[in-house]
């Protein structure tokens, strides 16, 4: 439009200037040319020049120039800036775009089956990806709630008992003071108990809740958010800070401040503050109250005893570094604290600070090196999520390209009428975006429906991050990418058709047009097969460990914590009362739950012990009746018995301990531990107390009724469980009135050991089913397309005498081939990764060949079922109908 540049008069102007004719100020002219919209410039500048000439004639140069400048400035108004003469987008673009959408809608409605497969498949893929994304986000933001996230650490130590370094998070008490006083890198240090489960009683209300005993500095370290009360309240001995939820449970709507709570029916403490519950995705989610460390010391003898004891590792220490301090450097400084002191223990502890950013995702150590942990699953599921989304995209691409011939005519006509390729590309993209948009909305509703189940399976409290702009940005960003990826192939492929060929009818998709489609199907099924094999391996591993002989009888066995002094005082009466009810087979007590191993010692010796290594033996303090209660299996010798008074110095070993000690005739051998000599009276079969995937640690059992804290009750096998439970409860209520009757079934406790594996297994199963479903949806669509495309061929074949079975084989053959290729590719991949996973377990189910055969057969079966539906439908069609058209 800018004629000015080409104008023949331009030279004239120069000559005019050359003749010293006054001209408008150059800069004003340039300004005008700069800001004025090009399409307006000619008329505007022309008018201004005309005006200038006139002013020059009438008023002289000075005025004319001044007026000119004034006028130029006068044009600084919006209409002159607008670059586009079009007052609104041109009508034809609006019409065209609305036409694109109209066609897209019509196509969706015309092929409802395909549209369903497209939208639903994509939505399922997006929903899975979204769920995984939310899960990953939750895992990655674990503990980020704390404002000192970057500077908080947990003290750990590596100790060497035998060959490998083991890792523990329990510390000796004096270490805290040492760190606080001698190492300036620490801003704050706090001792903490493990998370205890205690009875909190206020008036008639008695609840068993979990919480920690901590030092006052802990409150600021973990940035506790106070709702009411004094955050420094823990400086007082008889004080307690309680969480909001606990306050509500205990006091309802009453003001909790200054209320008195009785802990374990022993110490009375005053509520000095209420804090906001720690969020669910933090390590302290179960800390519902914070009690002062001084109270811990005052109320427990063993804590007082351990106060200056460097070798009693039973306490947690949390630390906050100064800004700028580096965890690795600090860890190097404190590593040898214990070894450098007098009389270092044989296990040579190395202390280090484990940063909060690694607590949750990097919690595994092997021989003194961090080996990751949950982060592997974050990666794994992230990759699975990406793959599932990819599968869904592949469906979309495949179906669109498969149907390209149907739309080839449309492309031809559009091109003949004047569409350029860019517009066709636009059209197909707008179609794919439309589908993606539907899928996105649908996927959000699927996620909303699935979240409760998902949260239960994954043990999370994840919600859609409605208010998080990042969530929407990624969600929409991903949709955009999905739309681009999924739409790109049809967009570029379809738009490249030549109008003449298509309309003349000579257009045939080439022989190799279906190759990319086949490759994509193979890719899809490779992913599905890999996932199926992986899931089977995970489940087999869990099942294998579950079937492992536990070494005792978990059936009808319950555990009750000895949580009040009354239980200790009245234990004998309680026991005889329980036995009188007839609801109980036997009652035993022990130190620590049967499903955990509470402690071990290296201070142990026996005849013929080698001097190398300091093996750790697990110590179990039990009562005489313990063995009978849990039903352990004695291999040699006898059980503890009250008829032998010498049994206070008797010891029972497990098989692993026997193997370690190497006794040929174990009975009557003498084992010395902690300065006392014990006579071995029996050997039992290994009992799994710890990790069911690991070998059983060498352990011994001795009678010691002083340190016990758990009552084990074997319910009578002849009475229904609910009936015997109510009888047991009555007795407990009678003798322990200050405590609610809280018990746990041992088989449930044992089952929790598989929590992580089962969770992974369930998630993997969930993803696998979805991946397979999405793949099958795609296959279903493709098969129906192929059947439709070959309708005539099938009709002719039928007329010539082909049987239904023959036609079915004809149509299914191609797909079965593809799935077989996918099997060949997927199996080694699955083997490689699953082998790595299984290797982490000491006690593992081998990956045997039948898993691959089974997974392969399963995949083939699904394929055949999917394809056969279409194939048989096509084969059964009346040839008259299919051949009549045209």
């Amino acid at each position: 439009m800018n004629i000015f540049k080409k104008s023949p008069f331009r030279g004239d102007r120069r000559t005019v200037r050359g003749m010293q004719q006054p001209t408008p100020p150059r800069w004003a002219d340039q300004l005008l040319e700069w800001f004025c919209a090009p399409y307006l410039l000619e008329e505007v500048q022309g008018d201004l020049y005309e005006r200038f000439e006139k002013n020059l004639r009438l008023f002289g140069e000075k005025t004319a120039r001044r007026e000119y400048i004034k006028s130029v400035f006068g044009f600084i108004r919006p209409f002159a800036f607008k670059r586009n003469k079009e007052l609104s987008p041109p009508l034809y673009i609006q019409i065209m775009i609305s036409n694109y959408f109209k066609i897209a809608f019509r196509n969706l409605l015309k092929y409802k089956g395909y549209s369903f497969i497209n939208i639903f498949g994509l939505a399922a893929g997006m929903a899975v990806t979204m769920l995984i994304g939310l899960w990953v986000h939750d895992e990655l933001s674990y503990n980020k709630h704390f404002s000192n996230y970057d500077r908080l650490g947990h003290l750990f130590q590596f100790v060497k008992f035998d060959v490998e370094k083991a890792t523990y998070d329990v510390m000796p008490i004096p270490l805290a003071a040492e760190l606080r006083n001698k190492y300036p890198d620490f801003e704050a240090v706090s001792l903490s108990s493990n998370t205890h489960s205690l009875i909190l009683a206020s008036g008639e209300k008695k609840l068993v809740k979990t919480g920690n005993y901590v030092e006052p500095s802990f409150v600021d370290m973990v940035s506790v958010k106070m709702i009411t009360g004094n955050r420094n309240g823990l400086k007082d001995v008889n004080a307690i800070l309680i969480s909001e939820s606990l306050a509500e449970d205990l006091f309802g709507l009453e003001n909790p401040l200054d209320k008195v709570i009785k802990i374990d029916n022993k110490e009375s403490v005053k509520v000095v503050g209420v804090y906001e519950n720690f969020p669910y995705n933090t390590s302290f989610k179960e800390v519902l109250f914070l009690a002062p460390w001084s109270l811990y010391e005052a109320s427990r003898e063993n804590v007082r005893r351990d106060k200056d004891e460097w070798d009693s590792n039973s306490y947690q220490i949390y630390a906050q570094l100064k800004p700028g301090a580096d965890f690795d450097k600090v860890s190097a400084k404190i590593k040898d604290i214990r070894v450098n002191r007098a009389d270092p223990p044989a296990y040579r502890p190395e202390f280090f600070v484990h940063p909060m950013s690694k607590w949750h995702l990097y919690s595994n150590f092997k021989d003194g090196v961090n080996t990751g942990g949950l982060i592997e699953f974050v990666w794994l599921f992230g990759i699975i999520g990406a793959f599932v989304l990819l599968l869904a995209c592949i469906n979309f691409m495949n179906l669109s390209t498969a149907r390209s011939e149907k739309r080839a005519k449309e492309v031809g006509i559009r091109k003949a009428v004047g569409s350029v390729r860019g517009q066709l590309i636009m059209q197909f993209f707008s179609e794919s975006f439309l589908v993606v948009l539907f899928a996105f909305v649908l996927s959000i509703s699927i996620v909303l429906l699935a979240l409760p189940v998902f949260n239960q399976v994954a043990d999370k409290q994840v919600g859609i991050l409605w208010t998080n702009p990042f969530f929407w940005l990624t969600g929409l960003g991903f949709s955009l990418i999905t739309g681009l990826v999924a739409g790109s192939y049809p967009a570029f492929y379809l738009s490249s058709f030549q109008a003449v060929k298509v309309l003349k009818g000579t257009f045939r998709a080439g022989r190799f047009a279906s190759v990319p489609r086949k490759v994509l199907v193979v890719l899809q099924f490779t992913v599905s097969v890999t996932l199926i094999i992986g899931t089977v391996v995970v489940f087999r591993q869990i099942q294998y460990a579950k079937n492992r002989a536990v070494g005792y009888d978990r059936n009808k066995l319950i555990e009750v914590n000895m949580n009040t002094p009354e239980l200790y005082k009245h234990f004998k009466v309680l026991k005889s009362d329980l036995q009188q009810t007839g609801a109980v087979y036997e009652i035993g007590v022990s130190a620590g739950s049967i499903t955990t191993q509470s402690g071990g010692t290296t201070n142990i010796s026996w005849k013929g012990k080698s001097q190398q290594g300091k093996p750790l033996l697990m110590a179990n303090l039990v009562s005489h009746e313990y063995g009978k209660t849990i039903g352990w299996q004695i291999l040699q010798g006898r059980d503890f018995s009250r008829t032998f008074s010498t049994d206070s110095a008797a010891m029972i070993l497990n098989e692993s301990a026997l193997k370690l000690m190497g006794f040929k005739e174990p009975l009557n051998e003498i084992v010395t531990t902690n300065g006392r000599a014990y006579k071995v009276i029996g050997v039992i079969k290994d009992m799994i107390k710890e990790n069911p995937f690991s070998p059983v640690a060498p352990s011994f059992f001795i009678v010691d009724s002083r340190s016990v804290n758990v009552i084990l009750v074997k319910l009578s096998p002849d009475m229904p469980t609910s009936e015997s439970l109510s009888k047991v409860e009555a007795v407990f209520r009678k003798h322990n009135p200050e405590s609610p009757f809280v018990y746990s079934f041992v088989d449930e406790l044992y089952g929790k050991k598989f929590g992580d594996e089962e969770r992974i297994g369930k998630l993997a199963l969930f993803f696998t089913i979805l991946a397979a479903l999405i793949s099958c949806l795609g296959l279903f669509g493709l098969a129906s397309f192929v059947a439709e495309q070959r309708t005539k061929e099938i009709g002719v074949r039928k007329v010539l005498g082909a049987s239904v079975a023959h036609l079915w084989a004809l149509l299914s053959k191609d797909f079965v081939m593809l799935v077989c290729i996918a099997l060949l590719i997927g199996s080694p991949i699955a083997y490689y990764f699953m082998n790595q996973w299984v290797m982490r377990y000491n006690y593992r189910a081998d990956i045997s060949w039948w898993i691959f055969v089974g997974a392969g057969a399963g995949a083939l079966l699904i394929t055949l079922l999917t394809v056969s539906f279409q194939a048989i439908k096509a084969a059964l069609m009346n040839p008259v109908k299919s051949l009549r058209s045209e």
């Binding site: 004629i3 000015f4 104008s7 023949p8 008069f9 331009r10 004239d12 102007r13 307006l40 000619e42 008329e43 505007v44 500048q45 022309g46 008018d47 201004l48 020049y49 005309e50 005006r51 000439e53 006139k54 004034k70 006028s71 006068g74 044009f75 108004r77 209409f79 002159a80 007052l87």
Partner: protein, 112 residues
């Protein structure tokens, strides 16, 4: 009575376009306006008004011939559209009707 309303300045510009016939372009309209109203009018204001009038489909435009005094640039010639014409008509009728509705007594009593 549904129509696009015009501002006072727009109305005057539109009238001027009608007056100028096929000679209506930026400068000529400005000069005519200055003569008719006696007030000083800026070229840019006239351009803006013409622009708005075109948006409202009151006037249409085409590029006219170029002259030397314009540095070889063409003029944009504005002509009244049917809509513009009708709008002016309606405005006049409305005014007339309203003038006629003022009772004579009051009309004569109005301060001059």
């Amino acid at each position: 009575m549904k129509r696009t309303y015009l501002g006072e300045f727009e109305e005057i510009v539109l009238l001027t376009v009608a007056i100028m016939g096929d000679m209506a372009y930026g400068v000529s309209i400005t000069e005519e306006l200055e003569q008719q109203t006696g007030r000083s009018v800026s070229v840019s204001a006239v351009h803006a008004a013409l622009h708005r009038l075109e948006e409202k489909y009151m006037v249409s435009s085409h590029m006219g011939e170029a002259t030397a005094e314009r540095g070889g640039r063409r003029k944009r010639i504005f002509t009244l559209t049917a809509l513009g014409n009708r709008t002016l008509d309606e405005i006049r009728l409305l005014r007339n009707r309203m003038w006629e509705s003022i009772p004579l007594k009051i009309l004569s009593a109005l301060p001059r």
